[in-house]
């Protein structure tokens, strides 16, 4: 009895797995549509692919599973394959996993990936380790493979993030956006609310330009939500107490608006504590952290569990009146009714700043927020350098940018701003793209630290503890700065 049943179960499973294994290899090519033959005379891309001997080659890349990456995988990769016969396999995965795998591959020089996503903040680590191929040099060495449609000069200044000291470029930008101040236009323009606000605080309700105003608005709407039985709070906080995103929100978005730049690290001697010339535990930084932690009182309860994803989701669900939100989300929050309850009610503005910060930003000393984004780079370990070069140029053409910008709210080229399709979306998102074009220079990416991730891991637990109330903001920053100093010495900086 038992034996027979067992035989049946085993038999079914064996059969099943055999059938499946038989199917598996066949399933692979079926997933991709066959490349249609290029009609007419061979395109430049086809000729170049032949010259480089790349036809039939498969290029493998890894990226974060973001809308721009998925557009690259679903649309651009298919088009590129049809045009050149080079197949692209783009692995889109979570942010944490992407780094693990890309770094493992490049560190061990195994050559699995032919192109990797490089976020603006990690590039300095990669450069210090010589992981990446110098694209300027590679193009110069292979003029026959340099597409006439591709030019580094066409990109926005964001490409400067991917340059070394000599100005050589190591990545082709594929996404870029600002972390902006979003607010609910429907609430801010409601006359009854405006009146109540004025009565309570004595000035007109408008998008906050100072931290005091921001706090007032947050407090007001939290109370308003409570009084009216609404699921509405005053602000979002990207305050996950176990994820790097809260570290980034504080040091890249909040602290700069208080005038603490570069994570409060003195870049001359690589020190963080005030005693050693740093600013991480300066009064300004402590004020910034205290402000931000205080905002948790006016944020929806999920704030301490929110990463960048959940902040956008909370705002899209209409649970917050204002907040710092990554710009890549602006387009879908403002336009996609399947995912957002605040379609058409999203206002975009510059974040509030402390006195003197705007002047710093304009003169280039400081910045008012985070200009984030990434590029595709070519690892030195790749075995298909020239073929990958073609792919990187392909995604860097002006002609593919506009649709890509609409699919992923990202802009990497000056000319994309003027595209009619982009301008149409711009109107719907309260001028986010215009803001990005005009105010972009006021924002900046992460400081050029070659020890970026290593230091973040040491500092972030203190930020988490401040958010969960285990430490006061002042204690947290004092301890964080001391730990940062120790770790920097350990890593060989600022002996």
């Amino acid at each position: 009895m038992l034996k027979r049943k067992l035989t049946v179960v085993l038999g079914i499973l064996v059969l099943f797995s055999m059938v499946l294994s038989a199917c598996a290899p066949a399933a692979l090519p079926a997933a991709q549509p066959a490349a249609p033959a290029v009609e007419g005379e061979a395109s430049w891309w086809r000729t170049a692919a032949q010259t480089a001997g790349c036809e039939g080659v498969t290029l493998r890349g890894i990226s974060e599973s973001t809308p721009p990456s998925r557009y690259a995988a679903d649309v651009l990769a298919k088009a590129f394959e049809a045009e050149t016969g080079i197949k692209i396999e783009l692995e889109a995965t979570s942010w944490d996993e992407m780094y693990t795998k890309a770094i493992n591959d490049m560190q061990a020089a195994t050559g699995i990936y032919d192109f990797v996503y490089i976020e603006q903040d990690i590039i300095y680590q990669y450069l210090a380790n010589n992981y990446l191929t110098n694209l300027t040099q590679l193009l110069a060495d292979n003029p026959e493979l340099a597409s006439p449609d591709f030019d580094f000069a066409k990109f926005t200044t964001f490409i400067d993030n991917f340059k070394d000291a000599e100005g050589n470029i190591y990545g082709v930008p594929m996404e870029a956006f600002l972390k902006v101040y979003l607010y609910r236009k429907d609430l801010f323009s409601d006359p009854a609310i405006q009146e109540a606000f004025k009565a309570q605080y004595g000035y007109d309700l408008a998008p906050a330009t100072t931290h005091a105003q921001y706090r007032d608005i947050a407090e007001f709407f939290t109370q308003y939500g409570r009084d009216n039985g609404l699921d509405l709070w005053g602000t979002t906080v990207q305050g996950n107490t176990g994820h790097a995103s809260s570290f980034y929100e504080f040091f890249e978005s909040i602290a700069p608006t208080f005038g603490v730049y570069n994570w409060g690290i003195n870049m001359d001697n690589w020190k963080a504590t005030v005693e050693n010339g740093g600013e991480m535990n300066s009064d300004k930084a402590k004020e910034a952290l205290a402000f931000w932690v205080d905002m948790l009182n006016y944020a929806p309860p999920e704030a301490t569990a929110s990463t960048w994803d959940e902040v956008a989701a909370s705002f899209a669900a209409g649970r917050a009146a204002q907040g710092w939100v990554y710009g890549e989300n602006a387009a879908w929050i403002a336009t996609d009714p399947d995912r957002s309850r605040v379609v058409g009610n999203v206002g975009v503005a510059l974040p509030p700043v402390a006195e003197g910060v705007m002047e710093d930003a304009e003169s280039g000393v400081g910045y008012i927020g985070y200009y984030d984004g990434g590029a595709f780079g070519l690892p030195v370990s790749s075995k298909n350098q020239l073929c990958t070069l073609l792919w990187l140029q392909y995604i860097g053409q002006e002609s593919v940018q506009a649709d890509w910008a609409i699919a992923g709210s990202r802009i990497v080229m000056e000319s994309t701003y003027d595209d009619p399709k982009v301008q149409e979306v711009d109107a719907k998102v309260d001028g986010y793209y215009t803001l990005m074009k005009e105010a972009g220079p006021l924002f900046r990416g992460a400081p050029p630290f070659p020890f970026h991730a290593a230091l973040r891991e040491v500092v972030q637990p203190y930020i988490w503890k401040a958010l969960s109330g285990e430490l006061t903001p002042a204690e947290a920053l004092d301890q964080a700065a001391a730990a940062a100093d120790a770790e920097l010495v350990n890593l060989g900086y600022g002996q």
Binding site: D96, A128, G242, E302, T304, A453, A454, S468, E470, L491
Partner: protein, 291 residues
């Protein structure tokens, strides 16, 4: 029977696989643990460090805290699982209508991927749309925020582990109880022993091999828990649920401190082996007394 060659031949595939996929990486980790190796430090490549990594480790507060936290977690959750599992197993020994249905339902968590368990519990406890915070607040006025209050997070992680693994404990103990000889128990009842005495002086000693086996397995796995907790709290709030597996993950993966992380995991492996070896010896001793 005389020639051992056949015996070794049958054992060989197992040993070869374990050696190649198991011991080879172990020796590599051992090797790396003797170096300073962080691609993001000022010095590139591997720098000989001798036992310096271990020297740093015994003074590393974050590491020791995490070790202590893991021990507390493993001890608490395994104790609860054992107690609860024993109770439930006893109710299942005797057949009653519906037993099979209850048992089938009860086994469900056992087949779930740890990462899916973490995701499920995250969905349950996430403020904003999870039912647990909502109803706790509504019915009891408890402010339940997993990502803010450290003790709530710790308790939730233990509850999750209990939810996930008590079925396994129950079933294993049930198998033991089912197989237990009946005459001594009946004899004891005839002799007038009360329930507690039977339990204390007959059931427990007779079940000892099974109990130790369960403790061995559960302890071993609880000490290396990662997936569920990472999905639920990612070690937070702060470091309240940052168990040693997650701590090592953070050091080795995002921080890419390969040398130090390797040393750390070897030390953890050392503690686990010592603990499990003691259990193993106890198990073997029980076996001897029995014979």
């Amino acid at each position: 029977m005389r020639s051992n060659r056949m015996g070794w031949a049958l054992l060989a595939p197992t040993l070869v696989i374990l050696a190649v996929v198991g011991f080879l990486p172990f020796f590599y980790v051992l090797y790396v643990s003797l170096f300073d190796w962080n691609p993001f430090s000022n010095q590139l490549g591997m720098q000989w460090a001798g036992v310096n990594n271990f020297r740093r480790l015994v003074f590393d507060g974050a590491f020791l805290d995490s070790l202590w936290r893991t021990g507390l977690f493993a001890f608490t959750s395994v104790t609860i699982e054992l107690a609860l599992g024993f109770l439930l197993a006893q109710t299942l020994v005797n057949s009653f209508p519906g037993r099979t249905i209850f048992r089938t339902i009860y086994v469900l968590p056992l087949v779930m991927a740890p990462i899916a368990v973490g995701a499920t519990w995250r969905l349950l406890t996430i403020p904003g749309f999870g039912p647990i915070p909502y109803y706790l607040d509504r019915w009891f006025g408890i402010d339940f925020r997993l990502a803010t209050y450290a003790d709530q997070a710790f308790i939730t992680v233990i509850l999750m582990d209990v939810w996930h693994w008590t079925p396994f404990v129950t079933l294993t103990l049930l198998a033991g109880l089912t197989a237990m000889p009946k005459e001594p128990l009946e004899q004891a009842q005839v002799d007038g022993a009360n329930r507690w005495q039977v339990f204390r002086y007959l059931t427990i000693p007779m079940m000892m091999p099974v109990l130790l086996t369960v403790i061995f397995i559960r302890l071993m796995d609880a000490l290396r828990i990662v997936d569920e907790v990472f999905m639920l709290t990612s070690g937070g709030p702060g470091t309240a649920t940052q168990f040693i597996g997650i701590h090592i993950y953070r050091v080795v993966v995002p921080k890419t401190d390969y040398g130090y992380g390797s040393a750390m995991s070897l030390l953890v492996l050392y503690f686990t082996i010592v603990l499990c070896w003691l259990l193993f010896i106890a198990l073997a001793q029980v076996g001897k007394q029995r014979e």
